[in-house]
Amino acid sequence: MDPRNYRMRVDTNKCTGCRHCEMACSMVHNQDKANYHRARIRVIDLGDRFLPLMAGPYVSEIEECASKKLVKVGDKVYDQCCLCRASCPNKSIFKEPDSGIPLKCDFCAFREEGPACVQVCASGALSLVKIKEETEEEV
C-alpha cells in the first residue's frame, strides 16, 4: 500500500476511547512490546469526546508552537496543545519513552494490509480514504 495515495478519516463521534488503535500501533512497530507510549496514534480525552491523533512531524517549540492558543469548536473551547499532532519539546507524547526520539505516523507503509489502527478500530471511528477517489467525489 502506498501511503501517499491515502489519508485517514477520523470520526470523533464514533470513537469510544477503547484505545485498541494505540495498542495495535505499538505492537506492529515494536514487535514484542505492548506499550501505548510507543504508539504513533494516541487517543486524546477532550472531556466531551475522544480524539484519535496521528503523530505528525517534529516541530521546534520556539519557532512553530501555537499551543498556547485556545480553539473554539461550536460551544466548546479546547486547549490547542491537546489537538496538536506534532511531537515537540514541550510534551512527551509521540516520543519513544526510552530514547526520546520523535515518532511519526508512517501509515504502516511496510504492511500490505495498511494501517494497523484502522484494522482494529471496532467502532469505525478510523477509516482509510483514497485521496484520488475523494477528489473525484468532491468534483
Binding site: T16, G17, H20, M27, D32, A34, N35, E113, A122, S123
Partner: protein, 430 residues
C-alpha cells in the same frame, strides 16, 4: 515472564516505606489474575497481620490489547471474609504499564493523602484540602498539577465523601465512573486516609508470541465488525426479557458510548458527559426501591455519584430496611420510592443505613431476607448469561485472565484461551 510483570508494589502509608516484591511464576499461573489473585494476596496478607490491607491485582491479559482486557480487581480481606470487585476503564492496564501486577496498600496515613505512581516514581502526596471532595473534584485536583493532555493520561481511582466516613456504602470511582458493587471498598481506602491513587506508566508489556497475538486480535475485530449488527441485535433482545423499563428509558435516545481499554462493545453510556446508571443499578432502583420515574432515578444516581455511594449496596440496604420495617423488626423512617427521604437518611451519619446490609442482617437475624434480595439481582444477571449461552465456569476463567466476561457475548471461549497462550506462552489450567 510474558503477559505478567512478575512484580508487586507494597506501599505502607504509616511509615512511607515502598517496596517492590517479586511474584513467583508458579503463583501467578495458579491464580492467574482478577478476584482470584487479588483475594489470594489479600487473604495471605490478612493472615499475617491484624489490619485490613487493600489489594489491587491484574490478570495476564490486562493491558495487552486483547479485546476487553481491562480488568483490575480490588480486594480486601476483612473479618475472615473477602470483598472483591472489578475496577473498569483504564486503571488496570495502567497498573501493568507501571510495571506491576499487583499493588498492596497497608498502614494508615497520618493525614489525608493520595498515592501517585507516575513515570516510575512512587509518591505519597499529603493533601488535607481534598478531604470532602467528590471523586470528580479529586480527579480534577490531581490532574490540575499537569498540562491537560498529560493529566488526562493519569488514571485515577478515588473515593467520595461517603468513603471517608465510617460507612459500608462508600464506593470507588475511576475516571468519572462510579463503580457499582464496590460498597465498603471505598471505606477501606478511607480508613487509611487515602483519597485516591493515580497511575501513569511507561513500561512495556512483553508477550510470548506477539505476531500471532496481534494477528488473532485483528481477525477477531474483523469478525466483530462483520457481525456487528447481528451481535448487538442479539444483545438487545435480552433486555426486554430482563424487564427493566427504567434502563430502556434512560438509555434511549442520544447516548455516547464509552469503552474500557480495548473493548469493542463499549457498554458504558454517557449523556451530557455524565455516565448513566447501568442495567444492574436500574434494576435495583426499579425493583428494590420501586422508583419508576426517570427523573427520580437519575436524581438518586447523581446523588450517589456526588457522595461516592455504591447505588447497588444502597438499594440492597434500603430494601432490607423496608422489609424489616414491614415485619416490625426495625423502625426506620423510610417510604418506598421516596428519593428525598433516602437522601436525608444517607446524610444522617448516625443512621443504621451506614452499617450496610450484611451487618444489619446479621444483627437482626434477617439473613434470609437479605439472601432473597441478593438472589433477585443474581437471577436478573443469570438471564443475561443464559441468553448468551455462557457457563459460570467460563465466566470465572475469563474474569481471572483480566477480561470483562461480556467478551463472551462477541467471541468464543476458545479464541480467548488462544490469546492467553500467545500472550504468556503457557497453557491455561481451568
Amino acid at each position: 515472564m510474558f503477559g505478567w510483570n512478575g512484580k508487586l508494589l507494597r506501599v505502607n502509608l504509616s511509615n512511607g516505606v515502598m517496596r517492590e516484591e517479586l511474584l513467583a511464576e508458579e503463583f501467578l499461573e495458579k491464580f492467574l489474575g482478577g478476584c482470584s489473585l487479588a483475594t489470594e494476596i489479600a487473604r495471605a496478607e490478612g493472615a499475617s497481620g491484624e489490619e485490613s490491607k487493600v489489594v489491587f491485582a491484574c490478570g495476564p491479559l490486562t493491558g495487552t490489547g486483547a479485546p476487553t482486557a481491562a480488568f483490575c480487581n480490588m480486594a480486601v480481606w476483612r473479618e475472615g471474609q473477602e470483598v472483591c470487585a472489578p475496577v473498569l476503564l483504564h486503571f488496570g492496564p495502567e497498573l501493568k504499564y507501571c510495571g506491576y501486577d499487583a499493588l498492596v496498600i497497608e498502614g494508615e496515613a497520618p493525614e489525608w493523602c493520595y498515592l501517585l505512581i507516575v513515570d516510575g516514581e512512587v509518591r505519597i502526596v499529603p493533601a488535607g484540602e481534598i478531604q470532602g471532595y467528590t471523586s470528580s473534584e479529586t480527579e480534577g485536583f490531581i490532574r490540575s498539577f499537569y498540562r491537560k493532555w498529560y493529566g488526562n493520561e493519569i488514571r485515577i481511582v478515588s473515593i467520595g465523601p461517603e468513603g471517608e466516613a465510617d460507612s459500608s456504602l462508600g464506593a470507588i470511582a475511576t475516571d468519572g465512573l462510579l463503580l457499582n458493587q464496590t460498597g465498603g471498598l471505598g471505606n477501606a481506602l478511607g480508613q487509611k486516609r487515602l483519597k485516591a491513587i493515580g497511575l501513569r506508566g511507561t513500561f512495556d508489556l512483553k508477550l510470548a508470541k506477539p505476531a500471532g497475538f496481534q494477528a488473532l486480535i485483528t481477525d477477531m475485530i474483523a469478525e466483530f465488525r462483520a457481525k456487528r449488527e447481528e451481535i448487538f441485535n442479539s444483545i438487545h433482545q435480552i433486555f426486554p426479557r430482563l424487564d427493566i423499563p427504567l434502563f430502556i428509558e434512560i438509555h434511549h435516545g442520544d447516548i455516547e458510548k464509552r469503552a474500557c481499554m480495548a473493548c469493542p462493545i463499549a457498554c458504558l453510556h454517557q449523556k451530557n458527559d455524565k455516565f448513566l446508571p447501568n442495567s444492574t443499578v436500574c434494576f435495583c432502583f426499579g425493583e428494590l426501591l420501586e422508583i419508576s420515574e426517570i427523573e427520580k432515578a437519575l436524581d438518586l444516581y447523581d446523588f450517589c455519584v456526588a457522595e461516592g455511594i455504591d447505588p447497588v449496596a444502597l438499594s440492597i440496604t434500603l430494601r432490607l430496611l423496608m422489609e424489616m420495617k414491614e415485619i416490625k423488626a426495625l423502625d426506620v423512617d423510610i417510604e418506598i420510592g421516596d428519593v428525598q427521604g433516602i437522601k436525608e437518611l444517607v446524610r444522617n451519619k448516625d443512621s443504621v443505613l451506614h452499617k450496610g446490609s450484611f451487618r444489619l442482617a446479621k444483627e437482626h437475624g434477617a439473613e434470609d431476607i437479605l439472601q432473597g434480595i441478593v438472589k433477585k439481582i443474581e437471577d436478573m444477571r443469570e438471564i443475561i448469561w443464559k441468553g448468551l449461552g455462557v457457563s459460570h465456569e467460563q465466566r470465572q476463567v475469563i474474569e481471572r485472565l483480566g477480561l470483562c466476561p461480556y467478551v463472551l457475548m462477541i467471541f468464543s471461549f476458545d479464541k480467548i484461551i488462544d490469546l492467553f497462550e500467545m500472550a504468556t506462552g503457557k497453557k491455561v489450567s481451568i
